[in-house]
Each structure stands twice: as structure tokens, then as C-alpha cells.
């Protein structure tokens, strides 16, 4: 009972990026969380690897060689072995970070912007516009996310753009729902009433009061979505619905190496290990961020 009263007294969203001091507090708490810091460093390392890939790759990731096919880890000249076409696996994993990270992160950024805008518009406008937007969102939300991603990219066909579009559509409803509920709560609050009474325009209210309250929660949520997005994006490529060969991408590499699980099992499993490390890092960073911002799930 007391808990219920307390929650109703606190403002709608406790995780608010309101001022620099709040942001500094969040960062301060985040830096002191060892698990989050390890994850952040791993992510930074992966991003650096992707950016500087052409300079760190020891070999040409596209050069095939019948003599180097399916060589084990530690073969001289092939530190992580050779793939099914005799290409240097280490070089392909390094260059693969580019597409894999891009395919995992880009849909979340797109959905953050699109879903956030839709949710804020629906929440602030209310009325019929809210009904129209949110009922469409509900329909998309009624699909399990993997199924929706497969359905859309299966119908659109393989390719990077189609996979990006499908994944963005999968994540838009989840972000829009959060943005809408926070915006609705803010719109009904007394201080927004006061601002409106003193003549503030809708745009000003959204910019000053709504955005500050909405961005915190959806940012935390979006960070945790990157982990899901990495797994799904690589999953699409694994099925043959995403990146097309011979481009290196971890999910696609995992698929083409699948035939080698009896001859070179550990070489075949390597690309998946990178997907896992990336996904776990983003998940732990999101957890750290959530507790640093004290946003309840």
C-alpha cells in the first residue's frame, strides 16, 4: 500500500536526462559498475576492429585457395584456420565486424527515431490520431518478433536493405509503445498543464518537457534491443535472408561453415562466438545503464 502511494507520488519517469548534473550522475554510476565497463570496452574494441579492419586484416579475406580449405586453428599463416573456400578466417572475422555490427545497430537507431517520433506524436496528440497509430502498432506487436522479421524479409527477399527494413519494422512498435505511455503520462501532468496555460506552444512543450522524459527510458530500452537485433540480423543472414555471399558477415559465415562441423568443428563455431560476445556485451551494458539511470523495467 505504502509502495503504491510512493510510486504514484514520484514523477512519471525517474530516469530522466534533465540536466548535465543528472547525466554526470548516471555516467558516474555507470563507470563504477565493473561488468558494464568490461562490456563497454569489449564493444569499443569490436567497433575499433570494424573501423580499422582493412589495416589489421593479415590477409585478403576474399582470396580463395583449395590448399587452405578447412584448416584447423593455429595452422601457420592461418591463425584461426581456413574456411570452406580456403579464405583466411581471421581476416574474414575482422572485416565481418563491419557488416555484422552495422546490421545489428542500424535497425535499432532507425527504430529509435521512427518509433520514438510515432510514440510521442500519438501520446501528445491523443484522440483519434493516437487510436490510429497505436492500433497499427498493436497489430505489429501481435507478432512474435522473430516471426515478423522472417515474414517480412522472406516476402521481400534476401539482401541488406530488405533485412534492415524488416528489422526496423520489428523494433518500431516496441519503442513506440514506451514513448507513447511516457508521453501520455507527461501530457497529463500538472506542469505541462501549467506550461500550456502560460501559452507555450505544443512544439515547445514537446521539446522542453516530453523529450527529456521520453529519451531516457527509450534509450535504455534501445540499448538492450541491440543485443536482440544482433542475434536476429545474423540469424537472417544465417538463413540466407540477409547479407549475400561472398561478403563476410558472422551469421552468413556460420551458415556456410555449418557443413564443416564434423571436420573442423571449432573453426565452424568461431563466427557464432563473436555474435554471442557482442550480444552479451550489449545486454550487460544495457543492464548497467538501466540500473545507473534507475529506470525500472
Amino acid at each position: 500500500m505504502t509502495a503504491a502511494i510512493q510510486t504514484s507520488l514520484t514523477p512519471a519517469a525517474p530516469g530522466v536526462v534533465r540536466s548535465r548534473s543528472h547525466l554526470a550522475n548516471v555516467l558516474h554510476r555507470l563507470v563504477r559498475n565493473p561488468l558494464a565497463m568490461v562490456s563497454a570496452s569489449l564493444i569499443l574494441l569490436l567497433i575499433l576492429m570494424a573501423v580499422f579492419a582493412p589495416w589489421i586484416m593479415p590477409h585478403d579475406p576474399f582470396a580463395t585457395s583449395m590448399l587452405k580449405r578447412l584448416k584447423p586453428i593455429g595452422t601457420p599463416g592461418l591463425p584461426l584456420g581456413g574456411d570452406e573456400l580456403g579464405r583466411d578466417l581471421l581476416s574474414r572475422l575482422i572485416l565481418g565486424a563491419r557488416l555484422s555490427l552495422f546490421m545489428g545497430i542500424a535497425p535499432v537507431i532507425l527504430a529509435f527515431v521512427l518509433g520514438g517520433t510515432l510514440g510521442i506524436v500519438a501520446g501528445y496528440a491523443g484522440g483519434w490520431l493516437n487510436t490510429v497509430i497505436m492500433r497499427c502498432i498493436d497489430v505489429l506487436y501481435a507478432f512474435p518478433s522473430v516471426l515478423l522479421a522472417i515474414a517480412l524479409s522472406g516476402a521481400l527477399g534476401a539482401g541488406i536493405t530488405n533485412a534492415l527494413v524488416s528489422l526496423t519494422i520489428v523494433f518500431v512498435p516496441q519503442i513506440a509503445r514506451i514513448a507513447e505511455s511516457v508521453t501520455t503520462a507527461v501530457r497529463r501532468s500538472d506542469y505541462v498543464d501549467a506550461a500550456r496555460a502560460s501559452g507555450a506552444s505544443a512544439l515547445l512543450i514537446v521539446r522542453k518537457h516530453v523529450l527529456g522524459n521520453v529519451i531516457g527510458p527509450i534509450f535504455v530500452y534501445a540499448t538492450s534491443l541491440i543485443s536482440v537485433s544482433m542475434i536476429l540480423a545474423s540469424g537472417l543472414s544465417f538463413l540466407g535472408l540477409g547479407v549475400k555471399p561472398p561478403e563476410p558477415e558472422w551469421g552468413l559465415m556460420l551458415n556456410t561453415l555449418r557443413t564443416a562441423i564434423y571436420s573442423q568443428p571449432w573453426v565452424a563455431a568461431l563466427p557464432g562466438l563473436l555474435i554471442f560476445v557482442t550480444s552479451v556485451s550489449f545486454n550487460m551494458l544495457a543492464d548497467g545503464l538501466r540500473s545507473a539511470m534507475e529506470v525500472k523495467q
Partner: protein
Amino acid sequence: MLGYLLRRLLYALPIMLGVAFLCFMLVHIAPGDPLVSILPADASAELQRRMMSVYGFDRPLPEQFLRWVWRALHGDLGTSIATSRPVTGEVLKAVGNTLMIAVLASLIGFSLGSLFGFVAGYFRNSWADRLASLVSVIGVSLPNYWLGMVLVIVFSAQLMWLPATGAGPGGSSDWRWDWAHVQYLILPAVTMSFIPMGIVARTVRALVADTLAQEFVIGLRARGLSEGGVLRHVVKNCAPTALAVVGLQLGYLLGGSILIETVFAWPGTGFLLNQAIFQRDLPLLQGSILILALFFVLLNLLVDVLQTVLDPRIERG
């Protein structure tokens, strides 16, 4: 209660119609002619026109949609282009196969997840809590197609304890509940159980910690109830939500089985979807997605209703 049930059903109807519309549109957002996989490449314009009218593709979209929904309501989702068999039968057979691994995976995920979550929530901030939380983060971060591959490498390729792929020595048609068949279930179901395990663990941890912090628990302890008695109350408070979470997870597993079924060549809905996509069998794709999505909507509804029955404090709007 009856009013609530009716309201909930009424709310689900437009969602189901929307889901049907999206499935219907899948064929129309697909690039190229919807008949491209049936017609020979050198088909005459006359033949193409005739086929368009046979399949009804020459009518206006709203009319096509209504006809499609009408037929779907009568259980007719069209004919698979690849096998020439009715889509409904193909999908329902596959749903049965997927349910076998999905139900088993939910059971494993629920038992292990509740155990980890309970220990973590009860001994909060102990090493056991940290370990259980780590396990749950790993559970939800593992790409399950990779986990499946690794399990095949360890248990099939290296140790040779379990079969790697398929649904039994004689295929899926003569399934029996004996070891010769059940051993094919183990790896796919274990692979599938990791995500529900992680999510259940996370939920139960928060639930147990929240419940233990409530005043009635202090009251129970003050009245001298044994720790076992207190725990029984905690379990009773957490059970409805935990069951709801695992119920929804079953829907996610059923809809998201495509990756695991591709790894294990398990003849379920995911495998069917994979075939439909790569043979451009659009009626099959449309039909299986419709059935899976509707199943998910109905499961959501059922979980919501059951939760209200189990826990009358919750009156959902």
C-alpha cells in the same frame, strides 16, 4: 468477470483482423508477379491473364482480401505451390511437431529459470544471485542457432551420444514416444529452452525480491511462521506472473522456431517456413505465418484471462 472476458475478446478481434491483413499483404509486397513461381518463364500473355483470373489476382485488393479472409474462416488457406497439398493441413501437421519441442523447452526453461530466479531473489546480492543473474543474461544473449551448432558439435560429432538432426529414424511420419525417437527431441528442446530460462529467471528474481520486501512477509515472520511457511506464501504470490511469462514464451518459441529447426532439420513450422521462403511458395508462407501469429494472439488472450482468474486483484482495462 464475464464483462471483462467479452471486452477482452472484442479487443482481440480487430487485432486478429489486422494480423490477417498484414499476412495477406505479404504476397503483395513480394517483388515480382505473385504467379512467378507457377508460370513458366515463356508463358504467353493470354495464359498469364487466365491464371491471374483463376487465382483472383485481377480483382481489386479489398475484394481479394475479403475473399481470402472468408475462405480462411472456413479453414481454406489455399494450396501449396510446391506440394499441391492444402496449406492448412501442412501447417497444422508442422505445428504439432514444433509444439513437441516448444512445450518441452518451456518446461525445462520454466523449472530451471524459476530455480535460478528464486535462489537469486532470496539470497539477494550474494554470490548465488550474481551467478544466477549471469546465467540469465547469457541465456537471453545466446544466438540459439549457434548454441544448437555447438551442442551438435559436442554431443553428436564429438561424444556421439545424441543424433544431430531429424525427427527419428523413420522421419517424422511414424513418431513414437520411445527412446529411439525421443533422443532426437533432446538437443533441439535444450537449445530452445535457454531464452525462456533466462527470461523466467530474471522475472522470478525481481518478483521474489519484491514480495519479500512487502509488509505481509514481515507480518508472517512476526507471527512466528517457519521460513518454509513464509516461502510458501512467496511462491503463491509469484506463481501467477511467472506462469504468465512462460505462457507467452511458448508463443515466442512457436513463432521463432525457424532458426533452431533449420539447424536440427526438425520438421516443424520453422522448417516449413524455410521451405516456403526459398521455393517462393507464397500461399504456404502466408498461411503458416497467419496460423502462427493467430496462435500467438490467442495465447496472449488466454494468458491474460487465466491471470485474472488466478489473481482477481488484477482487473485489466
